[in-house]
């Protein structure tokens, strides 16, 4: 199809398009470039005003070593991985069966349950932080992994998204599964979840990105350095250790940002889908 609004542009407009997009793209990338650039410069060069991206003296090794050793950065990253993995696994485990019940089963109270999901969808998590903090205090889980994970193990958005997707799966598939002797529980995990894999992956990406990047709740829930997820950890690193010691700080920032960016660049389509699908919230 040669479509009109995507027809090949005349040369001048094509040049204009690339120039404009390269310019905006470059502006967008400046913080990333500057961060990486500072992370490989020695202190002397950082404080000597200069435009050069590449340092005269490559100091990357020192900066990255300090970032990894002076602060428990590997521990932060590990915490991030543990917390995000636990959250995603528990979210899917809790939300998929509920979404299946809402999408495919007929039972008294279904509309009420769905209304609750929709109302919960409205509530920003920050509003709930105070009572959740008190709850965490009461049951004695503050300053543990559990405190970071507990508030997120049910995701109204996850239930909503999975329900939408499950509804598109024909009833006959479920009827066939029942005739084959599968229990309702088995139908969720052996039939629905595998068939809804694209939605699960998109949701998983949405969930991991938001929780890897989240600062607000971890700031409230944990004080112990060894439990901090990356954003909180790097903030602590900035406040306590590094101060104006930009080299190691930028190295640490680069290390925190890198995994998601690498994942994003290798699976762009999935990320865009997951994060904008998340926008429907």
């Amino acid at each position: 199809m040669s479509t009109q609004h995507t027809r090949r542009l005349a040369l001048p407009s094509a040049i204009l398009r690339h120039t404009a997009l390269l310019a905006t793209g470059a502006l967008i990338l400046i913080p990333f470039v500057w961060m990486v650039s500072l992370s490989i410069k020695p202190p002397g060069e950082i404080f000597r005003a200069s435009f050069s991206f590449w340092p005269e003296q490559f100091y990357g090794l020192e900066n990255y070593t300090r970032a990894l050793t002076e602060a428990p950065l590997p521990q932060y990253m590990l915490n991030g991985v543990i917390v995000c993995t636990m959250i995603v696994v528990l979210q899917v485990a809790v939300c998929a069966p509920a979404a299946y019940a809402l999408a495919k089963l007929d039972f008294p109270g279904r509309n009420l349950l769905f209304a609750m999901v929709l109302i919960a969808l409205l509530l920003p998590h920050e509003v709930l932080a105070l009572p959740l903090f008190i709850l965490g205090y009461q049951i004695g889980i503050l300053n543990t992994y559990a405190a970071l994970i507990l508030p997120y193990i049910v995701s109204p958005f996850g239930i909503f998204l999975f329900r939408q997707f499950f509804k598109t799966i024909p009833d006959d598939v479920i009827h066939a599964a029942r005739l084959d002797g599968l229990s309702e529980f088995a139908i969720v995990w052996k039939i629905m979840v595998p068939m809804a894999l694209p939605a699960i992956i998109a949701f998983g990406i949405f969930s991991v990105v938001s929780h890897w990047n989240s600062l607000f709740w971890p700031l409230i829930a944990v004080r112990d350095q060894n439990l901090m997820p990356p954003p909180l950890g790097i903030m602590a690193f900035k406040n306590e250790e590094a101060g104006n010691d930009y080299g190691p700080l930028m190295a640490a920032a680069t290390i925190v940002v890198a995994p998601l960016i690498a994942a994003f660049l290798s699976a762009q389509r999935w990320f865009v889908e997951g994060l904008t699908g998340g926008a429907v919230k």
């Binding site: 990338l29 409205l122 009572p131 109204p156 790097i234």
Partner: protein, 318 residues
Amino acid sequence: MSIAASSAEQQAGSASVTPATRAALRRQRISETLAAWALAGPALLLLVTLFFLPVFAVFAIALTDWQFGASSLSFVGFDNFREVFADEGFRASLINTILYAVIVVPGTIMLGLVIALLIESGKSCRAFYRAIHFLPFMATLTAMAIAWEALLHPTIGLVNQTLASLGLPTANWLRDANTVLPVLAMIGIWQNLGYAMVLFLAGLKSIPQDLYDAADIDGADLWLDRLRTVTLPMLGPVTMFVFIVVALRAFETFDTVQVLTQGGPGHASEMLLFTLYRESFEYLRTGYGASVAVVFLAIVVTLTLIQARVMDKRVHYQ
């Protein structure tokens, strides 16, 4: 289960229902209900514990003078709200947040739209440009805020270096009450425009080619006419959607304030979530913090309900 249930229902509808069928029908219904609640039970329990009880608790706490850790509390009615709205700090915070949104929302929409139009206007390098512009949206904002701080550093930052070398005035961007909010807003635009762009790209893709063809035949064949006749009106619903979502994100800004300014200088960059955090968890003014949370909730719910209405309207558009 449903197959059996539906055939049972059909029989129930006819005149001859034997007691045995009726019993079978009831058994089916009961077992379907039990299965459903077994599957949805954990989610229900957690929704109640983690969403509904807390939100009621916030309203309840907002009506008391409780301070976290105190053993006693008393009911004070709407005193906290009166105090909140009388508090200069909170008023500054509310106004700052609105101002911030007033800059971020149009800025994000316009840049996102222009970039989306530029990307869509040609065929080459689409994925590349999309990736670059989307990058800030998913990069850890706490870490990127630190990079921004380095960029905005009064002496060694790239921004001031560039301005100085061009002979333009420089500023201590994050410590100056006049510049701090616009600068945070700029970071907000930087972070969100890729997101708006992706939504606009999806919107552009869904415009039927026939409409552009019709516009060509009707004579609206110049770039501006096509934009006005087809593209922009057809993007109307998406734009409303982006508007609300970006507004919500603007109101929920926290990371940059926390990392870069701590609300300063003075109250110049204090925003709602930061106030909520500080009052509740640093000053431990629990009742007061809960009132701020209630106000914040009211704003967010209003915006979300508007969004729901808009999405409804979008369905009616075609």
